[in-house]
Amino acid sequence: MTQVLDNPVRLSTPTTAERTARRRAFLEWIAVHSLGVAAALFFTLPFVFVVLTSLMSGQQALTRDLVPDSWEWGNYRQVFDTPGFLTWWKNTLVYAGLGTVLTVVSSVPVAYALAKFRFRGRNLSLMLVISMMMLPPQVVIIPMYLFWAKQLDLSGSLWPVIIPMAFGDAFSIFLLRQFLMTIPNEYLDAAKVDGCGELRTLLRVVLPMAKPGIAAVALFQFFYAWNDYFGPQIYASENPGAWTLSYGLESFKGAHHTDWNLTMAATVLVMAPVILVFFFAQKAFVEGVTLTGVKG
């Protein structure tokens, strides 16, 4: 009898504990996800307001309204019809596209040497790469401007920002080096036993394995060029035919300074390609951010 009486008591204690545990987990789930939704609103509402304003009439964009009365899709057409806007697109694509290719081609061998060769001065070289990466571009801009504008007469074009990318970009070298460090040396040794020289090893063995790293570097460099404001400001400002979207966008605001709807439409058009590219290459990108943050 005592046994029978004991049993239900024993059984019920774990169920209440279990129930409170389950209730606590549920409450925590609610709390965490409410916070998540609040954060999501903080991160997305600016985009939403910008898009909504870009679809308002010019009159309504100057009011406190948040939602358009009539949806003016024509605003976007008007932005495209602005003189220069298509040229800025073209220039941005040239700068970002060419710059990305040049950066990858010139940075891969350097990163490979820093990651896998043993030579005196390797640590010093790596420190210099990191120093270059951390250097604000304004530090050397006076001599660089004099060099490009006075000696080579290239101001008024984007060449002064594109050409340097053919000589290795410090951030890309660093990121690629971090990535190449993760490739085990056994693969390289095996290739060498098979009679591959360093160049062949790099091209045949390392490159295929380094694809994610290269993708990340290419993306970062593409976005860097797309976003760059200072370079075009210094070298291209005198010639609107050489402006990029990031630089032109600000002057667009200047020319349409009461047309918030058009300015916001132009803003959307500058943001959209970056976000589209991100959705196609999300994995490579996030991997790249993590690589630069975690020590090598």
């Binding site: 820093l114 030579f119 951390m134 660089m144 401007y145 400002s237 803003t267 970056v274 991100f278 951010v289």
Partner: protein, 320 residues
């Protein structure tokens, strides 16, 4: 016989070594050229110009410490820019690191729809700076902007944001917090790396959630927190596009090709050191003084970079 073969082998060894040195130089050559032309030469040249009077025409004229004295004593924008930089280091960097850590923690706790949340949190980081700044100047415009409309409806104060010197840097901080995605990803990776057993052991000891954070999480991720702080400070030294565009757009006077505007609008509150290089060099054509500011900037950036690379406990390790 034996000495000869020894000699032969040292010779092949030496030529082998020479070959490998040549190979190393060949692989490094793009960067070696880039380092010389785009780093070492202009840096030396910047030092040279900091002692010269030069406006881009004619011949540079020796001015001794004149440029240095001018920048530190008479240039009205230098000290406000340095003070702003200090403010940004203390407030903006701190807020960004804490917020990044908070969002990183949050994303590791979210169990439903993690991918969607992560993408939404990360996206603003990608917004091109000029576009993001324009968007924020619009969102925070004091009269009709959505933020002040909502604050007004709730009966809260409606600050002047980018048009008010006391609110312009907090507005820039809000913009920086919006783009916290890079830190979120780094913290997320670090948090997921903390060994699970340590949490389980702590839980068995009956610790509270805060104690687990304080004594398990924090010690494990402290190198990443340090990394975030130091790189944040270095980024602050480079902080240029957002404050410049915000000031220009908010002041309503915008020039594409070198038209003048009040630097650091409103009331010098958005000036940063890189902007001074532009102001002195490309608006006043005082290349010498611009180089003085450039060198101050260089010294600050390199000091923090050295902190990042410090051998013992360095955050970026050079070795294999």
């Amino acid at each position: 016989m034996s000495t000869q073969s020894l000699r032969v082998s040292t010779r092949t060894l030496r030529s082998k070594r020479r070959m490998s040195a040549l190979r190393t130089v060949a692989f490094l050559s793009p960067w070696l050229i880039g380092f010389g032309v785009f780093f070492a030469y202009p840096l030396v040249s910047t030092v040279y110009f900091s002692f010269m009077k030069y406006d881009g025409f004619g011949v540079p004229e020796f001015r001794g410490l004149g440029n240095w004295a001018y920048v530190f004593n008479d240039y009205p924008l230098f000290w406000p820019a340095l003070r702003n930089t200090l403010w940004l280091v203390l407030v903006m960097v701190t807020c960004r690191v804490l917020f990044g850590l908070g969002v990183g923690l949050l994303i590791t706790k979210i169990k439903t729809g993690t991918g969607v949340f992560r993408t939404l949190f990360y996206l603003p980081y990608l917004a091109p700076p000029v576009a993001a700044t324009l968007a924020f100047v619009f969102l925070l415009n004091p009269g009709t902007g959505p933020v002040n409309s909502i604050l007004g409806d709730l009966g809260l104060p409606t600050p002047g944001w980018f048009t008010d010197p006391t609110w312009s840097k907090p507005a820039l901080t809000a913009l920086a917090l919006w783009g916290v995605g890079d830190l979120m990803v780094i913290f997320m990776a670090a948090l997921l790396d903390v060994p699970k057993e340590q949490y389980e052991a702590a839980e068995l000891d009956g610790t509270s959630a805060w104690q687990r954070f304080r004594f398990v999480t924090l010690p494990n991720i402290s190198p990443i927190v340090m990394f975030a702080v130091v790189t944040g400070v270095i980024q602050t030294m480079q902080y240029y596009t957002q404050p410049l565009v915000a000031g220009k757009v908010a002041s309503g006077i915008i020039g594409g090709s070198g038209q003048q505007f009040e630097p650091g609008y409103p009331d010098k509150s958005t000036l940063t050191l890189p902007q001074l290089v532009y102001n002195l060099g490309f608006q006043r054509f005082d290349y010498g003084s611009a180089c003085v500011v450039a060198l101050v900037l260089f010294a600050l950036a390199m000091a923090f970079t050295a902190l990042l690379m410090r051998r013992r406990g360095g955050l970026i390790q050079a070795g294999d």
